[in-house]
Symmetry: C2
Subunit: 158 residues, 2 copies
């Protein structure tokens, strides 16, 4: 493979921020609904949420302007993608463009999945900011959002 354009070190601009490391497993989970916990990692253009569904938990049908990709990691997840209902398993994805109605639910089994948004989902950032500021919310206050401005690389991983 020609590496001239793929593995190039020729930069057309300077970085606007430094890279950083995050230990997703060490993050506190934030409960957005009973049985639905998330661990959010936010970058400038994306948000990666590590999501856990308890059995019999539903994220009701909704829409948002942010594009979303959902990736099932473990367990079974029933997804309703604008009326196309399927049960996804490990390694299966749902691609959810802006404004496409969707919902997710578990039945007998729990599920772990990842939700990736671009840009970061604004309504969730607002919830997280309210929770970390101590504003009354159903979100647990133990959680928070991993963000570059709040955690230098040296603190993110030992």
């Amino acid at each position: 493979m020609e590496t001239d354009d793929y593995f190039t070190m020729r930069a057309a601009a300077a970085p606007t921020e430094a890279g950083r490391y995050v230990d997703g497993a060490a993050m506190d989970s934030v409960e957005v609904l009973p049985g639905l916990g998330i661990r959010p990692v936010v970058s400038e253009r994306m948000m990666v949420n590590f999501v856990s569904f308890a059995p019999h938990t539903e994220a009701p049908m909704h829409v948002h302007e942010e594009e979303q990709i959902a990736i099932v990691v473990e367990g079974d997840l029933e997804v309703d993608l604008d009326g196309d209902v399927r049960t996804l398993h490990d390694g299966e994805l749902a691609i959810i463009p802006a404004w496409v109605p969707h919902g997710m639910r578990t039945h007998e089994t729990a599920c772990r999945e990842m939700d990736i948004f671009s840009p970061p989902r604004r309504a969730l950032l607002q919830r997280l900011e309210a929770a970390s500021a101590g504003t009354p919310s159903q979100m647990s206050s133990g959680g928070g959002v991993e963000h570059g401005a709040e955690k230098p690389p040296s603190e993110a991983l030992p």
Copy 2:
């Protein structure tokens, strides 16, 4: 939790494309370097690559304008993030803003990780298009890219 803004069905615009399902595990792997295979899923604003590193495989230091988040799924991955070198394990992430130099390598153990880009990484899209068009390349021709325009939802998952 107030669900008015988080789980709302109020759309400010119509979707510009339909949602779709993808079975990542069923995709062919594309070899970008010996020992380095990817299964790419592309949406409008993002690209999710399921990446496998054989032992003793290196993605050399490089830069690109696309923002990247790397998430280790299994095994050990040594990451060089602009000089900050760490070995990541399951559930650990590297946040790589635009133009930040980075490289990855395995030593004794293999590694599975996910690379998420926003926007989709242009140089890789060009490689994939060249490979699927039969242009000589070190990429295997058995692979390809999952894209909405190429695969309707009914073909993506049974």
